[in-house]
Structures are given as C-alpha cells and as structure tokens.
Symmetry: C2
Subunit: 191 residues, 2 copies
DNA sequence: CGCGTAATTGAAAAGTATCAACACTGGTGG
DNA sequence: CCACCAGTGTTGATACTTTTCAATTACGCG
C-alpha cells in the first residue's frame, strides 16, 4: 500500500551529495501541496527523501482514484519524462515531504550516462508494472472485505496521515462501504 | 485494448536480421499454447512479430483477470528478466503467434550495450505503467456500460479471436453481466 | 449426425452505491 | 470559557448493480 525504494534513494542521495553544484536540489512540501498536476507539463523528476504522498487520477465522474501511496525512495514524474508527455496523474503531499528534484534533462542525461542509475530506473518501472498488475487483478476479483483484510496492517498505523476518504479512493469504493465492511470485520473479530 | 509497439518491433527485427548467428530466434506458437506460465521461471524475453496473445493472472478464486491483449511489437517476460523473479502472469497465444525470442542474458546485454534498445525498453515499460494506471482508474469508477462503450470498436473486429469469456475476464465481470449490458446497449441503439 | 465448447437467459441472492441525517473533533473568535 | 464552524467520520434506509446458479440454446467440426 505504501511503496518505498531504498536502493534508489541511496543512489540519488549519493548523487546529490557528491557535488555541490549538482542540478539535483532538495525541496520541501507541506501537507496538501500539489507537486505534480494532471494534464500539466512536468519539468522535473522527484524522488522522495522523507514523508508520504499520494498519487491519484481524477475521473470525469469527479472521483479520485489513488494509484499509490509513495514514501522513501519512490519516484514520480519519470513516466512523463520518458514518454515526453504531460502528466496523467496528480501527486499531493500527505505529510511534510522532502524530495530530491531532478530536472528532466538531467534525468535523461543520468539515464544515458550512469548505468547504475539506468538499472535502478528499469527496476523501479518494472516494480510499478508488477504491483499495478497484481493490484488491479486483485481488486477486480475480490470483495471489499477481502481487499480490506489485505491492508489491515496499514489501517491502524497510518490513520493520522491517510483519511478514510483516501483509503476508500485507494480501494475504489465509497466511504459508506468502507465503514460498513470495517464494522462487519470488527464484529467477526477479524480486525 | 490490444497493444502494439511498432518501434520496438522494428528495432528487434533489425537486430534479428543483422547477424545470422544472433542469440535471437524466431518461434511460432499455435492458439492456446502457453508461452509463459505463472509462478514459473522465465528464460527468455519475447517480442511479438505477428498474431495476438493474452496476458493474464489467475486469482485464488480461480478467476482469470486479463491484463492486456498483446499484438505486434509488444514485449513480455521483460519484467521478470529485470526483476530477476519468477513470472507473475501467464501469456497464451490466441491466434497463431510468431515471436522473437531473446534469451534473458542477451536481453540484459542489450540493455547495457545498446542505447537505442535501452531507450525503447524504458518507453515500453513507461507505457505499460501509464496504460495500467488509466485502465485501473477507469475500471474502478465506471459502470460496465461505460467500460463496454469504450471498447465497442474492438468488439466487432475481434470476436473471432477473443471469446466472450475473455472480454469478461478483461473487464473483470461475469459473462452474464456482459450479455445483459450488451443487450441493454443494443436496445438503446448504442451498439 | 452427434459431441463438446461457447453463448444466452431468468430468477434469486449478494454486494455496493446513493442520499440524507447526525456525531465528533480541533481550532477560532467573542 | 464557551459557542460556533468546517472538516471528517458514522450510520440507516433504500435503490441499484452485479454475481451466482442452473437450465437452454447455438455453433463448429470430425
């Protein structure tokens, strides 16, 4: 539910520290700040140093669907940089968020010149495909109850950062269904 | 609904033709042949030269969820090669299928030594993430009717290759729901 | 022609959404 | 210190959507 990527974080923080005039800069966002906005051009690739963000898509129905919650080492903006397209999703800080900001052009440069970085991006993309595949499949063929049981460990830990509405948006259900199912699980003693 | 990747096909067929003792080989599968099997080790990366295949995941409920229909130039097995893990999905030929088969080790070699190939794989992965994100979001927040209207152009063209069951598995619904909704759309004159 | 597979349909059951009302919480200003 | 407000969370009743299950029908092919 909350993705991390320690390897990538390590690589980027090393790149950042290795030279004082690096194009990579550190930046801090406050909760509710929008870092990337759907349908807008993206000029940088971001890698999270600390904090939590949500990556979501707003449908024509007005409903937000949360793709992922990102934390340490997770990258976003890279899809847009590689495809050379405007953003297809929004990313918003949920907690205070510190990121490494890599200008798109320098990101492209790193991809070409730094084999280790290239390899880590290939892995990060592969992992995204993998997790998305698994999640979509699971979501389509299981009930709300099953989906909730799957993330019960997170439910207690992050309620102060992630609202009920956001959990519902992540699962693709309404808050009403979320509450009903949570109660059912409690009476069954499964939560 | 049916993905293609002309650029990648062009690149790989050039690689294939450029030397007679290339590690890349051509291989043909008949309909219903399994090319990659869930939970099994994968030894090659495949790129489709011609034909259609389905990529799907089997859930513990016994239900198949189809991730994508692949056609010319689409690649599979690359996620497993990059992550160095067993397969998380199965790929099955729907029509007669001709593929270029690249041994995993040679695929890794190409990634490192051939910048153009590397760039095309980055793009292919980014596209997969992009399309999966859009599709999952759409699926979660729209009715069966909306989902069907979205692929109505395909529905007529590929019925001889793709069964009703497979369309249902792609949409994550039952054939009963598929039929009911198709009938409703027909009486409404929308199909 | 007959067999197996795929497609179709109706009726009942299960699962979710919608809507509207109400409760709780933390902060603000009188 | 308390009243108020906005945002978030909770709940019940009802309507709608989708699945389940079982029974039929249609189709392709040896």
């Amino acid at each position: 539910m909350i993705r991390i990527n320690k390897e990538l974080l390590h690589c980027v923080s090393t790149l950042y520290q290795s030279c004082t005039d690096s194009p990579i800069v550190e930046q801090t966002f406050e909760p509710k700040n929008l870092i990337i906005q759907e349908q807008k051009k993206v000029f940088s690739v971001y890698i999270i140093k600390s904090g939590i963000a949500k990556c979501y898509l707003t449908e024509d129905t007005g409903i937000d669907f949360i793709q992922e919650f990102f934390s340490e080492g997770e990258i976003f903006g890279e899809i847009e940089a590689i495809r050379d397209e405007i953003s297809f999703c929004s990313v918003e800080a949920l907690s205070q968020l510190v990121v490494y900001k890599i200008p798109t052009a320098y990101f492209q440069h790193l991809l070409k010149q730094n084999p280790e970085f290239n390899q880590l991006i290939l892995k990060a993309l592969s992992n995204k495909v993998y997790y998305k595949a698994i999640r979509h499949s699971y979501n389509q063929s299981h009930t709300v109850e099953a989906k909730l049981l799957r993330l019960k460990d997170y439910l207690s830990d992050f309620t102060h950062l992630i609202s009920k509405q956001e959990i519902a948006n992540y699962l693709g259900i309404t808050t009403r269904s979320l509450n009903r199912t949570l109660n059912e699980l409690k009476t069954k003693g499964l939560l």
